[in-house]
Symmetry: C2
Subunit: 307 residues, 2 copies
């Protein structure tokens, strides 16, 4: 089994109340692939410039991420984002966006990437997402993320793209915006009516909720006393979730999806403890499994006694 992810590869400048970094490895496809890499083979597809060097490749390679489909554009510069988080860490204020090579990105997938069992279309232009989806005819599970920008500017294309995937992972506010439905249960049902069998609403510090034909499931976020930088939380959540699903042989019944969400939340909890991918770089699968078990105990309701 293997996962292919298509999305942004970036350098980020981030400032939070707990510190700042001027230039660190980032981008949705990077966060996703590092997280998914703990569960199996991952191939990352995205463009970089000349400034993307051996040190950056090394981080990906050390986590078993295959970088053959990273397209290096000669003379180009890598996507750059600068943002700042306020006191409560809930919303990022964008200070600078330089699309650079990402502005002309046309995904080119190798045969190996097209042959993946699991496909994740990170938050990019929905026409590109759909092209990639069409190139990967044999995937068992295809999932996508998107955001307010695409809902506003390319709504029809996004709806067409959503119709062609099995799972949608989006922020709850964006699911509401997309469907113009303030009730999340109805919003998820409206997205499922377009085609996807599974809708997962990311809820930031409140966790995530799962909607399928069989019903509803929700998980809080893993409680942390120290959150230093929320950048990459959503993408590492998606990476842990999709990586775990892929490791289960494409089984995506509700029980497997629930465990996958708990793994996703576990990965995201490590991510936000430090800046960018810094915590991820020295994370181990044992640490992940240990926190997963803790997390499961934290969310269990014991049976009511007979009294």
């Amino acid at each position: 089994m293997s996962v292919t992810v298509v999305g942004s590869i970036a350098f980020d400048a981030v400032k939070t109340p707990f510190g700042e970094r001027e230039r660190m490895l980032g981008g949705s496809a990077v966060h996703f692939s590092l997280a998914a890499g703990f569960f199996g083979d991952v191939r990352v597809v995205g463009p970089v410039g000349d400034d993307f060097g051996d040190a950056e490749y090394a981080v990906l390679h050390e986590h078993g991420v295959n970088t053959d489909d990273i397209e290096r554009v000669p003379g180009g510069r890598t996507f750059f984002w600068a943002g700042e988080y306020e006191y409560d860490l809930n919303t990022a204020r964008t200070l600078d966006t330089q699309l650079n090579v990402f502005g002309d990105f046309a995904p080119k997938l190798s045969d190996a990437s097209r042959a993946a069992d699991t496909l994740f279309l990170a938050n990019i232009q929905p026409d590109l997402q759909r092209e990639v989806r069409e190139q990967c005819g044999g995937v068992q599970i295809a999932a996508l993320d998107s955001m307010n920008f695409w809902i506003e500017s390319t709504r029809d294309s996004l709806l067409k793209t959503i119709a062609g995937v099995d799972m949608v992972l989006m922020n709850d506010a964006e699911l509401r915006m997309l469907t113009e439905e303030p009730n999340l249960v109805k919003a998820a049902a409206a997205v499922r009516a377009i085609g996807p069998r599974v809708v997962i609403a990311k809820q930031g510090e409140y966790g995530a909720a799962l909607f399928t034909e069989d019903g509803f499931f929700a998980l809080p976020a893993y409680p942390l006393e120290t959150v230093r930088d929320p950048t990459g939380a959503g993408d590492s959540f998606a990476g842990g979730l999709m990586g775990y699903l892929d490791s289960q042989g494409g089984n995506a019944d509700d029980a497997t999806l629930r465990r996958a969400m708990a793994y996703g939340s576990t990965l995201a909890s490590f991510w936000v403890e430090e800046f960018g991918c810094e915590r991820a770089e020295r994370l181990t699968r044992d640490e992940i499994d240990e926190r997963y078990e803790q997390f499961k105990r934290m969310t269990a309701i014991e049976s009511v006694p007979a009294t």
Copy 2:
């Protein structure tokens, strides 16, 4: 075992995108006591005016709520609140507040109310909460709710009152405001450092989180396609929670607290399906237990298989 609740008894005018009511039974002590009444004996303490009539008493009596300590002020009028909820139902806009008899409220507890095992100090002036707490020396569990208004205007008194109770149930935003700590885990720890053994953060549509010495627990809200009026959600949550705890003989270990939270969330989910107490008025314990069981299944993460 029995529960005493002290708080507001009111008439509410409420408008939501799903309808409106010009004058319906409300107030935190009413919502709380109707919810707690499904689990055992409840006594409600609060003031009303001449306009509080047989019909209103009847709703309470039909749910087994003892109204002996409702103080009827001759010539007075009952507390009145008018509010409107916007499209997303998250925040109420207050249109009118008439304190009426509630403005001069000085709680007078009968011996029977003072002898309760479980005490809930609903959201009223913290000096009054503390006076009541001191009158009820023998309670096994005393809990309180509060709000931004008291944090801003009577902060020192509120902190003193919190020091004297076992449990605090407040909105997460208000716990953050009270402790000036944006991280909820730290905010809960700061409240526990003042005295209470248990802190429960109400998180509206996202559910609720529990903080004790032993750790953390969180529950999503029960998912509903139709929420018509969120008025009373927090108080019915508290009522279900405290009522269940009282029914367990004052046992408030973590397992019992988790079940109590699930009962609280279950009660709140019925409450918001209709206006005010309307759904509550014909609710049965069987319906509560059925939804509680459903809810438990909705939040269970199955064990990871051996693979």
